[in-house]
């Protein structure tokens, strides 16, 4: 039924934003390159971890040990080592027959090991217990393991977050540049909604895709390595991805059609690198800023509520620049 000409009424802003966001998101995900970009980093990290574990297995899985007496050998066997009695444990070690040796030298007991790790530590711990030493090492209990691995996992997930923030800049600037070139931006801007809604939908779509992909990556790595504060990482990574997309979009909008992608892209990459460096060197401040909060969390500082507001501020600024570029 023909209802007559359009009366010119605009759709509600929230509905327009949601529809445009889904449209941009679908368009973005339909590009295989974007999907690959979002999926592969976590898979590569997880696979690298497991390949490294297998590689390390070659180095560390040896349980061989040479000791001078049967009683000590029995204690170590109970701890899972392949301990045997040698008349000269040092010679067996030097000859490469074993990877650990314990013996009493002229100046006291000596432990030789080709690598440290759980079995070497168990050997030292048992020897010190046997000698009644004032201290002994103990393999860290499970409850404390996350804290022990904390700096390593924080660095690893931090590197992943850096990549997602860089993606944010590329998606924000690149998506706009592409739409400027093929003319679809002009068609979008002709819709009866305020211009800034287009910026908001682009940031929404990029933020949503990056947040979900980053959170999935963090939880995948968490299952393999145990990431400390995976929820905090999910929030910080999502906010920073959104911040990166906003920066990319704002810089590209400011550059306009006169400049190709590489200029705003380079400026965006330098800016996010600087922000992350700021967060790392001044975590007390960085935890309240978008992108910088990644650097702060690598140092162990959980994000502050301020990070949400400052990210929204950056988004608002990017939308303003976008709106201004349309005039």
């Amino acid at each position: 039924m023909n209802t007559g000409p359009n009366t010119g009424a605009s759709p509600p802003l929230a509905k327009a934003w949601a529809l445009l966001t889904v449209s941009v998101l679908t368009r973005t995900l339909r590009e295989g390159l974007v999907l690959r970009a979002l999926i592969w980093p976590a898979l590569i990290i997880a696979l690298t971890l497991l390949v490294s574990a297998t590689f390390v297995a070659g180095l560390y899985a040896s349980k061989s040990a040479a000791v001078p007496d049967e009683a000590f050998a029995e204690v170590l066997v109970a701890k899972g080592l392949d301990a045997r009695v040698y008349a000269d444990p040092e010679a067996a070690f030097v000859a490469g027959e074993v990877d650990r040796a314990a013996f009493e030298g002229p100046e006291g007991w000596v432990i030789l090991a080709r690598f440290d790790g759980a079995y070497t530590m168990a050997m030292e711990s048992e020897l010190r217990a046997r000698l009644g030493a004032a201290w002994r090492p103990m393999l860290i209990p499970r409850a404390g393991r996350n804290a022990a691995l904390g700096p390593t996992t924080r660095l690893l997930v931090g590197l992943l977050a850096v990549l997602f923030v860089l993606y944010g800049v590329v998606f924000g600037a690149g998506g706009l540049s592409r739409d400027q070139q093929d003319g679809s931006l002009d068609a979008e801007r002709a819709l009866p909604v305020p211009s800034w809604i287009h910026a908001a939908s682009r940031m929404g779509a990029a933020g949503l895709a990056l947040s979900v992909a980053f959170a999935a990556s963090v939880w995948l790595i968490h299952t393999i390595l145990g990431v400390s504060a995976p929820w905090a990482w999910s929030v910080v990574g999502g906010l920073s991805g959104l911040g990166g997309a906003a920066m990319g979009l704002g810089l590209m909008a400011r550059a306009g059609r006169a400049e190709s992608l590489s200029g705003p892209l380079s400026r965006g990459l330098v800016a996010v690198t600087g922000l992350m460096a700021l967060g790392y060197s001044a975590p007390a401040l960085g935890r309240h800023l978008p992108i910088a909060s990644v650097g702060a969390l690598v140092r162990g500082d959980l994000p502050g509520v301020g990070a949400v507001f400052t990210t929204l501020l950056v988004c608002g600024l990017a939308a303003w620049m976008f709106d201004r570029s349309a005039r």
Partner: protein, 545 residues
Amino acid sequence: MIRPSRVFAIARRDLKVVLAGKGSWRLGLTALALLLPAGAMPLPEFKTPLEIAQAAGEIPPALADRIERNPRFGLRMEGEDPVLVHTSRVPPPLREVLDTLPGEPKVRFELRATEFPVPQRGLLLALLSLSLLTGPLTESLAGERSRKTLLSLLTASISRGELALGKWLAWAGVSSVMTLAVALSGRVTGAMPLGLWCLGLPLASGMAAALGLWLGRDAEDEVDGAARTLRALPVIALGLFGAAYGLNMLSPGLGAVVPLGGALLLAGGLITGVVPVLGAVLGTGLGVGALTWSVARALDAEGDPRPTPALSELSHLGVGAAVWWLPVAGPAAWALAGNPDLGQSLSPAAGVAVGGALFGLYALVEALRRHWSLAELLNLPAEGVRSLYFPRAALVGVALSLSAAATAALPFPGNGWLYAIRLRLSAGLDPGWAGWIPAALAVAGQELMFRGLLQRAVGPARAGLFFVLVCAPLDPLRGAAAAAALALLAQRGGVPLALLARLAWAAAPESLSIASPGGAWLALLVAVGAAALGAERPLGFLGRR
């Protein structure tokens, strides 16, 4: 045919096109911002946590003034006699302090580990130059393609080799000049003495430029090119560096021949001597040649329609395997690596939950990409689901739950790391042990992925095969029977019907399981038979759709 004058003309044109206007000073400023701090600024002296005697927990009063208290440090002390040091490794400075405790017997700990040489700052310069090239290289090939200027170049009376080489020369040259200038400034400030390592910078720049062009050889536009380069260049660079480093550990100098890896070793000061340096020049030079040749070949087919990748179906299998195996079975690898405690401390239930969630996420994203409605993703039949199928689905689920003993039909080692992996991967068919929420997430994700997305996209037979390979690779016979029953159910009522069977299967108590393998196989037959009963084409699921 390679004419140097044409190659230089192309390089000059490329630089002009990309750096026209403010492009040149922008690139210069970016280079300064990235490279100068890395190359010229004196680095502050700082010690890694393992170089300082620090600890958390109860530090003995006798040592309080010599051990720094750091509540965040992953080493915790406890008790007084003896002092227990909970850690995965005792740092040497702390060991020195601890050995001074009163009454401590003399125990000398000597680690005769393989020495891992540390690269110099030149490596950082070389790696940063890679990120510097991302923008210009993207513009040089993908950008020219999207702005249609590449087409006119391709009809000029130059060969594809000259074109590829000219573009390579432009950016390898710019990056080399920049990194060498920064190295020189490092010499002026005293941060880096000049040496043979400097040769690694232009070599790395050259290979990075060739890699960047190669990665963008069929990129549609700058966004495509930048995303590819950002994603792949660091991974390739670090991978080749790792390979070169490893080879160098096996035999000093051997790593030099790895393309790019050798150049990075040289820049990092990890190889010296004329022969290894020549090896680096040769290896990286060959790498540049091969990649540039490949770019020239790609330019030859510029604009021709590309064949659809034949591996698209296999990519579902690859991603499916990765998102399930990594979180579910991955932690078992730590036992293999001599750290069983780490593997055991990671919750298998979390792995099952994350694996299931990732299946679901992948299926949802794929459905969004294909513009599928929810009904299409759930594979719902157009005519609706007949109510009598629901009790039948529950019956199939219960029958499947009785079949655990059928696993024993295939011989399998009763211990060892493969057995540990098999135990974890059993969550593919029987996730009940992981708890209610992980099990529900796992079966929901699996059904969305295999009976929803894949059954609709590649047909029930292949979807079933993928299910067996991904979710039951070490229990394939039982997996195949379950896949057939679930595929038949999904043909009648889509994902909801299969999901109902899975939930009944997961919820049925373990005590119901039939102990004898024969009985278990009978249960499997009942499950498949019940699912197939009344179907117009009981073997229809073997068809493509």
